[in-house]
Amino acid sequence: MAKRVAVVGSGQTHHKSQRLDVNGVELIHEAVSRALQDTHLTRDDIDLVIIGNMDHFEGINYVDMWSIDGSGGFMKPTIKLTTGGTTGSTLAIAGYQMVASGLFNKALVIGWEKNSESDTTAAINTAFDPVWDRLTFAGAIGGLALEASVYMHSYGVTEKDAARVVVRDRKNACGNPYAHLRKEVTMEEVLRSPMLCDPVKLLDMCPRSDGACAVIFASEDVAEKITDTPAWIWGVANRHLYTFINDVNFHGLHSLKNASKELYQKCGIKEPLKEIDVIELYQPYSFGGLLWLESLGLCGDGEAPQLVWDGVTDMGGELPINPSGGVIPTNPIGATGLIRCAEAAMQIMGKAEGHQIQDVKIAMSTGFGGCMWSDMLLYGKKKPK
């Protein structure tokens, strides 16, 4: 019989642009140790290790095998998943499902990246079809700039609207001790930052970070013994709608739209804006913090800028987004989606300290990949039926 599953704890490294003090395995170990400390578990308690990153960043093949000393996977079932930018959230979904299967009781899920060892854009370019797409359309920023342009053109959205998202997330990051860029920025600074790919400017974009995150998923048989406040997984959903560039409809993020419809239906969410208390949105650039709110059904098409200007998504608002600061201040790619999961669970568990939202009953996290891949998880304080 399928088991109900909860996140019972997590650990993150301090994220920086370069962690010269540790190698990849040590970086992983740092996050794993913190997750074990957080749950008062030991390596012996873990019966499955799930790990992921994007291979071409560090140039290590079979990372699940290479990382054994840091992951604690020695003489344990160990598996690797990778789906690009969504890797971290894909790992979280796998953590939930593999524990829910009843075959494993406690899964240690690890996402990591040492972007300082990579040429990030060169590595991302290889995702695209070598014959048809790679020569004309590749990399992380170009596709996002195109999405932003279509959005601006359709609804009269401005660069200033997008900058407001950056100001929010950079401010939130100051309350998160693990965030990479912990310094507030002003609207002016965002708008005057160097252009990367029109209309996306340097401060509209996430950095590349070194970091790792580990999250422990436990079955209903043990979750409440590990913590008094487990964050129960209510549901998961995902979509990937892109093989070639012409597959993409840039009017909204359709993978997120379709995944959220499935997720809300599974979990009985009718009015997401009202029912969900906090979202950790995998939003690697500012315009995503507007357009994707519409794809998530939080407001109508073209209405997101108003929602954000009204402060609805700020720390004290009706639906705070990215209390951790999210991705714009911190992006260790393979870990990023899993950090969203860890942070959403921390909000449910009341463990987010400096960036805690009061009385969170339902939280959501997402994952995004440059290939328009979307992953989603919904968490609740209440044990699901």
């Binding site: 020695f74 003489m75 009843g102 070598p130 093989t243 290939c371």
Partner: protein, 379 residues
């Protein structure tokens, strides 16, 4: 464990070079065959797990290349990067979790577009062991040497694995190297990395495989011949070769114990009727038969010499010809599961083992069989 069955199987022929086909062409062929086999359409599939490796494919987010060919449009999809047996394990848990009812699992690889030595060299620690030139072949040669030294395994015994499996491949229309060869041929073949010679090693192959897993309700509704999953186990050993005794496969022993326990198997030699093992090199088949408890540690050579692992033996190993006869990496473990299931169904054609009710499939990840995954399937 709730009951889950393999209800559809499809694979391409494995070939040295599929010039005309892209990754997605190969996967589409395997998926179409699996759907036809299951008498399903893509609408009956509610989720997909692809098995891809960014290094072997030369593409980051390698799953992207085969999403549409796997029929994943607007469906839940994920990607395991590792051998097909591990891909299928995640696919299985997606059904057991209650999230889905029918999982399509695909795997593909084009060895012809890869440089195997560079790609497998990238498995090793970039500072300490990569500069030594270790790759799949040279590291396996170290393991073979240690295994032979420890247990007196001979090059002749290893050669006999090659003779057996290439002969078996003659009965498998999907195999790449069906051959009648002699022990002498193997011993005289070119040395790749002593003691491994050309005919001790698996070939470079292109190919894809797809299987469909379904929960009990769907399996009973659709399938005339469901093959039930009885047990699965996997386990990873230490990473650094120096941290292991390479003549032993303790992670395989543990993975097998888990799978046997789940399947209620006490005496594997008697209760398992056929096994498909990941024989990337000849010595590995001997080692894995030991790790799986078909014989005592060090007796793999004797088990083979007695003919126990031959087509008429008590535990035929690799009636398909194994990886030695066709080795599309990542795909290989999924093919082992597919072959095991075909045996249980009685659909293995000329490579059929009579009265095969329970079959074992096995896959590996990492250097020198660092991690193993063992599947037991049956009627």
């Amino acid at each position: 464990m709730d009951r889950v069955a393999i209800v559809g199987i499809g694979m391409t022929k494995q070939e040295r070079r599929k010039n005309a086909e892209t990754f997605s062409d190969m996967v589409f062929e395997a998926v179409t065959k699996a759907l036809n086999d299951a008498e399903m359409t893509i609408q009956d599939i509610d989720n997909i797990v692809t098995g891809c490796n960014d290094f072997w494919d030369g593409r980051t987010i390698s799953s992207m290349a085969v999403g549409d060919a796997s029929g994943a449009w607007d469906k839940n999809i994920s990607c395991v990067e590792g051998d097909g047996t591990f891909v299928a394990l995640y696919g299985l848990t997606r059904i057991l979790s209650g999230s889905y009812r029918t999982t399509l699992i695909t795997a593909h690889s084009k060895g012809s577009e890869s440089i195997s030595s560079l790609i497998t060299n990238a498995m090793f620690d970039p500072i300490y062991t990569r500069p030594l030139g270790l790759d799949a072949i040279t590291s396996s040669a170290l393991q073979a040497r240690r295994y032979m030294e420890q247990y007196g395994i001979t090059e002749e015994q290893c050669a006999r694995v090659s003779v057996k499996n290439h002969k078996n491949a003659k009965n498998n229309p999907y195999a790449q190297l069906p051959m009648d060869i002699s022990v002498e041929d193997v011993l005289r073949s070119r040395i790749l990395s002593s003691p491994i010679k050309l005919l001790d090693a698996s070939p470079i192959s292109d190919g894809a495989c797809a299987i469909i897993l379904a929960n009990e309700e769907i399996a009973k509704r659709f399938s005339k011949h469901p093959v039930w999953i009885k047990g699965v186990g996997c386990c990873a050993d230490a990473y650094h070769l120096g941290d292991r005794d390479l003549s032993e496969s303790r992670s395989l022993e543990k993975a097998a114990r888990t799978a046997y326990q789940m399947a209620g198997i006490q005496n594997p030699l008697k209760e398992i009727h056929v096994a498909e093992l990941y024989d990337a090199f000849t010595y590995q088949e001997l080692m894995w038969t030991e790790g799986l408890g078909f014989c005592n540690q060090g007796d793999g050579g004797k088990l083979l010499e007695k003919g126990e692992t031959g087509m008429d033996g008590s535990i035929p190993v690799n009636p398909s010809g194994g990886c030695l006869s066709a080795h599309a990496v990542i795909t290989a473990g999924l093919i082992r599961i597919a072959e095991a299931a075909l045996q249980v169904r009685g659909d293995a054609g000329r490579r059929q083992i009579s009265a095969a009710k329970t079959a074992l499939a096995h896959g590996i990840n990492g250097p020198c069989g660092q991690s193993h995954c063992v599947w037991i399937v049956g009627k």
